[in-house]
Amino acid sequence: MSLMLLIEQALNGLQYGVMLFLMAAGLTLVFGVMGLINLAHGSLYMIGAFACAAVAAATGNFWLGLAASLAAAAAAGALMELTVIRRLYARDHLDQVLATFALILVFSEGTRWAFGSFPLYLDIPRALAGPVRLPGGIDYPLYRLVLIGVGLSVAAGLFWLIGRTRLGIRIRAGEADREMIGALGVDISRLYTIVFALGAALAGLAGALVGALQSVQVGMGEPVLILAFVVIVIGGIGSIKGALVGAILVGMTDTLGRFLLPIAFSTFMERSQATSVGAALASMLIYILMALVLVVRPGGLFGRA
């Protein structure tokens, strides 16, 4: 194992982490501001990927597809909020989970109805394809570097939005005391729709960006959703900063765990057994991390205890 390989794996972990952040940011905003558990967040990720794949296939242009993914996911999110989610704010979490689980089924079968059961084709735009040589002689895929850049820029944009703009002040106020800002004359239901659509657009963006690397298929959002929940629990529910730190922690732990654990086990075990045990333990690692964080800080790293 060389240092270069370790650095490459760390970059992979970072890239995985910032993509998880795009998913987790919307989820944590919606949970923090509206107190809503949205299981259908993964469906918005899927909608982003399908919109991008469909538009890219029709026009031959990935960037138009990317714009379409933002628009489609934001529109689907706003529509979801106006028709279904709005009725759930006053209900308890079990009702929210049930209703948003139903939405997963509706979106999944709706997508299958519209696009069929076979995975769609979506490739990396030609300008970003292939590896580039980094200082130190690492060949690293350019597209993954761009993903890291995009993820970190979106994070910076979100911090600015929440911390420095009028909308951000309202969002923070809504988190602190939703009755009070309603009484102060802020149109709370419009604010909720905007926050929901913003979270949806981020999920759609993640779906499109990651879809180019992965398989665009029905049900692609749910595995990511589970990880996004782990991220916001680690980071502290409602905290954007927590989501960023949590996402990078989860991305690093997962990638480096999968890489290092089998190597560590093979120092005292037979190889094929070591890879099997190492892989099994690596898949548990992020949940162990979550449990440890919750033991030390029950509200998450940046949550209000």
């Binding site: 194992m1 060389s2 390989l5 490459e8 794996q9 992979n12 890239q15 995985y16 999944s108 079968e109 299958r112 059961s117 076979f118 995975p119 769609l120 084709y121 490739d123 990396i124 394809a129 292939g130 590896p131 060949d139 895929p141 597209y143 993954r144 990651v210 180019a212 690397l213 992965q214 398989s215 665009v216 298929q217 029905v218 049900g219 692609m220 595995p223 990638t255 999968r258 890489f259 089998p262 190889r271 094929s272 890879t275 099997s276 190492g278 892989a279 099994a280 690596a282 898949s283």
Partner: protein
């Protein structure tokens, strides 16, 4: 009427009953029609129903239900089909874990099970049963084909990789069974993993000269796209599951040139296969996958047995199935004692034909292959 003519009349009636298969046969198909694995079940169903519709046998009826890729649902459907639909034959399950949940119980109740895909080692060896037939293969076969051919494709130092679950472990064992080169690294990934950057970095650093992967469905699409983009460029080899008709379109040019072991290919040269590919294309507007080919063969096997024996005579019906007297799209096809196929295993390559990607045969990997668990089957 004297005794002799009575006997003659009785014999004639029996002969009629025997040849015409007077008893109708009801088939229960349990397969995956929704969720991420739906494309496999849809192809299985479409291939099966294509053969049923082409035969037009009024004595054969089929009920189809979606198992959602969940073992508990598959068990519920099987119970319902056996108890209230009164099916005679069950078929269609794609996944080994679902097959293990359904097949032993169904065969114990005297139902015939014809496997269109899943064929776990447990059911091929110790758990073999006179009412269980695998029409597809034994699970290890396509991995064995890849292992047997890899050295011939110039892969002498292989990096091998599969998800960490029973079929993944069987896959790597199957590959190594006939592989003559050296295995430089063996990696287990998570089931359902979508990002392979970490593994690709390990491949680059491993000093291997070829990569064997078993990553079915979406996992394979993700890996192949990321692998192509990484520029590592070592020869890829795998079983057909990762590079079949239903998924290579989603990989695009990244899949071109990938070698995959199979027991069927759309360009396999025999009359039954040419008719099948042509009819499937005309009916559904797409090329068939291996799953469609297995479904089609399964229905034709069943139809051939219905012509020879009545389903109410279980022993005669199973004997008729064992004869495998049908024109398989795989050309050569017979059953061994454990009722799994003996067939040629091929190596295919992904090629572009016009604007679609498909597979073509580049060589025979193993001739007349049965399976590794034959000796464990006591029947």
């Amino acid at each position: 009427m004297n005794a002799k003519s009575t006997l003659l009349a009785a014999a004639a009636v029996l002969a009629l009953a025997g040849t015409a298969g007077a008893d109708p046969v009801k088939v229960g198909m349990i397969t995956t029609l929704s969720g991420g694995g739906a494309s496999l079940g849809i192809d299985t169903r479409d291939g099966f129903m294509l053969a049923v519709n082409r035969a037009g046998n009024p004595d054969l009826s089929v009920v189809i239900e979606d198992d959602q890729q969940k073992p508990d649902i598959a068990v519920q459907i099987a119970d319902k089909m056996i108890q209230s639909d009164k099916v005679d034959v069950l078929t269609g399950i794609v996944w080994s874990n679902l097959a293990m949940a359904v097949v032993p119980a169904a065969t114990a109740q005297g139902k015939v099970y014809l496997s269109t895909n899943a064929a776990p080692s447990q059911l091929a060896g110790k758990g073999c049963h006179p009412s269980y037939f695998s029409v597809s293969y034994q699970n290890d076969n396509l991995h064995e084909a890849a292992g047997a051919y890899a050295a011939r494709a110039g892969i002498t130092r292989a990096f091998i990789m599969a998800p960490n679950y029973p079929a993944g472990q069987d896959s790597l064992a199957g590959f190594k069974r006939f592989y003559e080169g050296e295995v430089v690294a063996e990696v287990y990934t998570q089931l359902g993993q979508t990002d392979y950057a970490g593994e690709i970095a390990q491949i680059r650093a491993s000093g291997a000269d070829g990569v064997f992967i078993f990553l079915p469905g979406g996992m394979g699409i993700s890996f192949v796209k990321q692998y192509a983009d990484s520029g590592v460029g070592l020869k890829l080899i795998g079983p057909a599951f990762s590079f079949d008709q239903s998924i290579i379109q989603a990989m695009g040019d990244a899949a071109l040139g990938v070698l995959n072991g199979a027991n069927w290919s759309p360009d396999l040269d025999n009359a039954a296969n040419a008719a099948f590919v042509e009819a499937f294309r005309a009916e559904y507007g797409r090329l068939p996958s291996v799953y469609a080919a297995y479904g089609y063969d399964t229905a034709n096997l069943l139809l051939s047995a219905m012509d020879k024996a009545s389903v109410s005579d279980a022993d005669a019906f199973r004997a008729a199935l064992r004869e495998a007297d049908f024109a398989s799209v795989r050309g050569k096809f017979s059953f061994n004692a454990s009722q799994h196929p003996v067939q040629d295993l091929f190596m295919r390559e992904v090629v572009r034909e016009g604007d679609i990607l498909t597979n073509r045969i580049v060589g025979v990997a193993i001739e007349d292959r049965g399976h590794a668990y034959e000796d464990e089957c006591k029947m």
